[in-house]
């Protein structure tokens, strides 16, 4: 059995984003593994430990610096990894095509894990695109995954905490939500072992992807400006309550 886990390298959540030119960001930032992808990887490793001869392979489309992210993926338990190296960003249509091509060159997936959303430019769609390309079923925002022979039971969380359990046949795609597990920090020994694991590097151009049916281009990026002017509501709490009612009624018009 082969489990492929798609992991993306993204700027650290605390990083302040500075814009360069029309549509790029300064990349002198701390980059980390996309948080949801940590859950995806952790789950894949747990599952692969219960199946003899099962292999977990982390796949990433990213800059050369994404080697670090794949190194952490291997420290967290992936057996090996594949980096599709590219100096530019790609939309999710091309990302899904590139991930599929790289996986196809490597082997036949029984299970593909992704995160439910890339924290930086994520559009919550790569998993659906991968599934469509593979003609596989897909469930998103998984909080529980059970592999049972040729079937998988995936519980996903919808709005308001509603949970649905879906049955799918392998092979399929599962996107991991935050409630799935709690990723741990790798130990020093795991980090050392990771260095001996194999990381394959493929140049994006060498994948020779067909032109997709559509695409998205980032034209312009601007910092988000807070246009708020904070007004201090002062007085006794009962006066403040009355002022709030006035704001909710007159300005917000919600009551």
């Amino acid at each position: 059995m082969k489990i492929y886990v798609c992991v993306k390298q993204v700027p650290d959540s605390a990083a302040s984003i500075r814009i360069r030119g029309e549509n790029r960001i300064h990349e002198d930032l701390t980059f980390v593994m996309n948080p949801c992808d940590e859950h995806a990887l952790t789950e894949a490793v747990v599952i692969s430990e219960t199946f003899k001869g099962c292999e977990t392979i982390a796949v990433c489309l990213g800059r050369p610096r994404a080697r670090e992210t794949l190194m952490s993926a291997m420290a967290m338990g992936a057996n090996r990894s594949i980096l599709i190296e590219s100096e530019t960003d790609h939309d999710s249509i091309t990302t899904a095509r590139a991930l599929k091509k790289a996986i196809d060159l490597d082997g036949t997936p029984d299970l593909i894990f992704t995160g439910k959303e890339a924290m930086d430019t994520g559009g919550m769609q790569t998993m659906f695109r991968l599934a469509a390309l593979y003609r596989m079923p897909v469930v998103t925002n998984a909080v529980d995954v059970r592999v049972d022979g040729k079937e998988v039971l995936v519980t996903s969380e919808a709005e308001q905490g509603v949970r649905c359990t879906w049955k799918m046949k392998l092979p399929c795609v599962v996107s991991a939500g935050k409630g799935l597990n709690s990723p741990g920090y790798p130990t020093l020994r795991q980090i050392m072992t990771a260095r001996k694991k194999k990381m394959e590097i493929i140049a994006f151009g060498d994948l020779d992807l067909e032109k997709p049916m559509g695409g998205a281009t980032l034209l312009k990026l601007e910092p988000w400006v807070e246009k708020r002017e904070a007004t201090w509501l002062q007085g006794a709490s009962s006066e403040i309550a009355d002022q709030l009612v006035t704001i909710l009624h007159h300005r917000a018009k919600v009551i």
Binding site: P11, S13, I17, I19, N23, P35, S92, I93, A96, M119, D120, G123, M124, Q125, F128, A131, A132, P137, V138, L153, T155, A158, E159, Q160, G161, V162, C164, T165, W166, K167, M168, G179, P212, M213, G214, G215, A216, T217, L218, L219, K220, P223, W224, E226, R228, A230, T231, W232, L233, Q234, S237, S238, I240, A241, L244, V245, I247, L248, A252, I255
Partner: protein, 321 residues
């Protein structure tokens, strides 16, 4: 006039509050708006939406085969309907179910999808959305035979402009068998208003001190018809379920009013609510980050202010009756 499809998710057999504003906005873009209906029984919501600019309701049928129930089959139905009718554009509200449906349709058609748009320009084929957890605003251009857009809830005002609603039946061939089967479902842990839909959200953080104290927010929320959210600290401490978490690793919401109680306003929390129209902070600390980034704030104790607000809302309602 260009035709565009809108998908109206009807969670509780009615459209989302945000659909009215979305329809009003899309009408200004100069397109004919077609809503696809997947369920048999109409609840009369179509007429209400026509008051805001919906042109036509297209009821889909599948040659006697059962109606699609799973997100997979719903998306296939919408994609087939778009192809059959030659409608190149799809919009829906970017709520959780909306996002999933749009992404599945976009994948099916290999169409670009821009999520959580605040503005769309169909001539230039561009849309405005935010990237990097709301730290930047982006203009993105799309190309393709089909284009899909998720519209951020509550960012456009509903404007009445009644139209005579047309209706149409569209017969599609039966859909192929689904590949995901629902084997169990569990009711939501949140009996309250869906946070994606709520016009007003009251959120609690570490300042609430324990899970029971969230009742103070719930009582106030009842008067306001509001949803109740939380910071990650409140979730991590086990006071409230994760489904209530707002922020970078939780829900991203855009209510008209966001009332943050005992929340310091970390970057990560802001990533989930910075697009609220009006932010009100109830925080004892005048130096808390949320204070500077709010529209209104009070430094009085939340345990005083919120119960009094609940009272004041009750009085307000009585005086109006």
């Amino acid at each position: 006039m260009k035709r565009a499809a809108v998908f109206i998710e009807q969670g509780n057999n009615r459209p989302n509050h945000g659909d009215f504003g979305m329809i009003s906005y899309l009408r200004q873009l100069g397109c004919q708006l077609y809503a696809f209906v997947l369920n048999q029984t109409s609840t009369g919501w179509e007429k209400k939406l026509a008051d805001y600019g919906l042109n036509r309701v297209v009821t889909l049928s599948f040659g006697g085969a059962p109606r699609p129930k799973t997100p997979e089959l719903k998306a296939q139905a919408v994609a087939r309907a778009m192809e059959t009718m030659g409608i190149p554009i799809l919009f829906a509200l970017a709520t959780l179910p909306g996002k999933e449906l749009l992404a599945r349709v976009a994948a099916e058609l290999e169409a670009p999808l821009l999520m959580d748009c605040t503005a769309v320009d169909l001539k230039a084929k561009t849309a405005t959305t935010s990237l990097y957890s709301g730290k930047t605003q982006a203009v993105i251009q799309v190309e393709g035979n089909h284009l899909v857009f998720g519209i951020r809830p509550h960012c456009h005002k509903p404007i009445k402009q009644p139209l005579a609603l047309e209706t149409e039946q569209l017969r599609l061939p039966p859909l192929p068998g689904g590949r995901m089967e629902l084997v169990a479902s569990q009711a939501g842990i949140l009996p309250h208003m869906d946070l994606n839909e709520a016009e007003v959200i009251l959120s609690g953080g570490r300042g609430l001190e324990n899970g029971d104290n969230f009742d103070i927010l719930r009582q106030c929320a009842k008067e306001l018809n509001a949803g109740v959210g939380a910071s990650r600290v409140a979730v991590d401490k086990g006071w409230v379920p994760y489904a209530m978490q707002i922020g970078q690793t939780g829900l991203k919401v855009s209510p008209v009013v966001y009332i943050a109680c005992g929340i310091s306003g970390s970057v990560q929390h802001f990533a989930g609510m910075k697009t609220a129209k009006i932010i009100i902070a109830v925080n004892k600390d005048p130096d808390a980050a949320i204070v500077k980034k709010s529209d209104y704030f009070t430094t009085n104790d939340l345990f005083e202010v919120i119960p009094l607000l609940t009272q004041a809302l009750k009085t307000f309602r009585k005086n109006r009756e």
